[in-house]
């Protein structure tokens, strides 16, 4: 939701057909095509409509609690400065998406999409969820606007994420456990698409990350760009200049693209996306689609995927449910291939360590997803001079993860 970028800008994608270079596109069943085209038309109109923008901004302010703070993290900064070679160790800031209503960046996108749904006259909401963060955020906006809402969630995740299932139910959503496939996020998305195909006339699908068929990657990115736009403004106010490096975890890629996109045309701003390395890339048990995958077509878009030689999709693994998906949004695939953004895998164990460090040094319990971004700091702070500024997008809070972390640390609750 920003002004039109100049031609030749890295910010002018996707092209008119919804592609980012070879990635993206609209790989959906014919039944969905007319709706996808309609959504695009409606989104273009909304983007031009000051009333839509004003309503979005107002809800972000009064309902979500934006702007979220840009927090200078003094003890983390000192900690890594102490470990870094002489003269290295940048000043570290956190963008505090964890302080949003519902505890993560996911709500930014949900507010935008439900306004679109209402604009299009749709009367039912569906969504997929893995850990339940997007499900909770969707159920929240559906409650706020009084629309019935069905959340598709893998049966295994329903079991693993009981607190979020209860939250969704409290918010009035129907949670539908999905028993097909491996019963996790990928299967929840398949099932949501199946349901959507059969209910296109009245149903709006709120996709939870910057992926899926065009125009979803674009509109999710635009709604999440509030993260980067605020960061830019807040950094100029705090430091009088732009940051030198941005770091964000990449699951489907929505918090990362929301942080990165407003800076893509600033050549001096380095960007690093952190993928879930699970038990390590060599182990084959990871969710690092760029590092360990190849381009392919799934869930409406062409993008990097974890797959075998025949193009069968392989199961992802990450300790972080929000990163546990065998693909990612198409714009990241493109930014990876163009080299504009660097992507680095972080293992479960590294993320766990960073999770604890952040709790102990800053009094902030980060989401396990965000802990992946924090876990790249040992490596990244060693590269950057001490006069430099690095921003980590703390995409969410870790309250939802305390059970997983306790189990990983061998603590009985």
């Amino acid at each position: 939701m920003t002004a039109q970028p100049p031609v030749n800008s890295l910010r002018s994608y996707p092209d008119a057909t919804g592609h980012f270079g070879q990635f993206g596109g609209r790989y959906v069943a014919e039944t969905l095509m007319p709706l996808i085209l309609d959504l695009e038309k409606e989104y273009r109109a909304a983007k031009q409509d000051p009333a839509f923008q004003a309503q979005f901004d107002d809800l972000l302010k009064t309902f979500v609690g934006r702007p979220s703070p840009l927090y200078p993290a003094p003890r983390i900064t000192e900690h890594f400065r102490g470990l870094a070679p002489e003269g290295k160790g940048p000043k570290i800031y956190f963008k505090r998406e964890d302080l949003n209503h519902t505890g993560a960046h996911k709500i930014n996108n949900c507010v935008g999409q439900i306004l679109l749904a209402i604009r299009m006259g749709k009367t039912r909401i569906i969504a997929e969820t893995g850990a339940g963060q997007h499900g909770v955020a969707t159920a929240t906006v559906a409650a706020r606007f009084g629309l019935p809402c069905t959340i598709f969630m893998g049966a295994k995740d329903v079991e693993r994420q009981a607190p979020n299932v209860f939250r969704m139910k409290l918010l009035g959503a129907e949670v539908r456990p999905v028993t097909s496939g491996a019963e996790t996020l990928k299967d929840a998305m398949n099932e949501a698409l199946r349901h959507w195909v059969a209910n296109v006339h009245d149903t709006f699908y709120i996709i939870g990350t910057a992926a899926g068929p065009h125009p979803y990657p674009e509109l999710v990115r635009d709604f999440q760009s509030v993260i980067g736009n605020e960061t830019r403004e807040q950094m100029l106010e705090a430091e009088g200049r732009l940051p030198d490096m941005l770091v964000a975890a990449v699951g489907g890629g929505s918090n990362a693209i929301g942080m990165f996109h407003p800076f893509l045309d600033d050549p001096d701003v380095v960007m690093v996306g952190i993928e879930a390395g699970g038990h390590g890339i060599e182990s084959g048990q990871h969710a690092a689609s760029l590092t360990g995958g190849r381009p392919g077509i799934l869930h409406g878009n062409k993008t990097y995927l974890l797959q075998d030689d025949d193009g069968q999709i392989t199961e992802a693994h990450s300790i972080s449910a929000g990163l546990d998906y065998p693909g990612l949004g198409p714009e990241h695939s493109w930014l990876h291939e163009t080299g504009r953004v660097r992507y680095v895998p972080i293992t479960d164990n590294q993320a766990l360590e960073a999770f604890q460090l952040c709790c102990a040094l800053e009094g902030i319990i980060p989401a396990l997803e965000s802990a992946h971004a924090l876990a790249a700091l040992p490596q990244l702070t060693a590269e950057l001079d001490k006069e430099r500024i690095l921003v980590v997008n703390v995409s969410g809070r870790g309250d939802k993860d305390i059970f997983t972390v306790a189990e990983a640390l061998g603590v009985k609750l």
Partner: protein, 258 residues
Amino acid sequence: MTRFETAFAKGPALVCFITGGDGDTAANLDALVAGGADVIELGMPFTDPMADGPAIQEANLRSLAKGTTTADIFRLASDFRSRHPNVPLVLMGYANPMTVRGPEWFARECAKAGVDGVICVDIPSEEDASLGPALRAQGVSLIRLATPTTDANRLPKVLEGSSGFLYYVSVAGITGMQQAAQGAIEEAVARLKASADIPIAVGFGVRTPDQAAAIARVADGVVVGSAFVDIIKQHGDAAPAALQDYTAALAQAVHAAR
């Protein structure tokens, strides 16, 4: 005349779908032909069959669990072609397995195996470049889907570059669920026929000879899938006999409809 033209010239055609690698596929295909199938659709299994209902989803997973590969599917196809030189054979599946080695590779393998046409569920006309040109260059038909949401504006786009037949998905939904009302099907087929110069086959939710006969009175072909897949699940290795019987009942209903 192409195999499609010959098959559809005889009157309403029965188009039969089964998933490759689920059960004894070669024997099952022979049973479909022996029962009177006019066109065969062989499903390429995929881990994420987004357009399929539970029956075909499970067939995909059963096939993959047995280790079915793309090479196996092409072997089934070329063996079928040797045994049945005149029956049109269509591969039906999803974009990723079809394009993972490049569309040119896939199209060449189709041509080599004697595959007449390809249905790719998740490549609409907007993304034709990902598969269509490669197939057409090899003389393999790209069979597109039209649906209840395909309006008059879109139909020419759907038809452009497609050949063999047009597959009308009669319900907005997934395979194996409810059938559309007969009146709605008749209206849709009439609308499609006005624009299309290729045969119209109607599928999704068609199970019984009665349903098939009703559709065959107006359409050029009737597609049946989940009903066969259910038989294979139920009968396992003994499926061919049951498949042949069921196919014969459907074929008789379809062929006698007009």
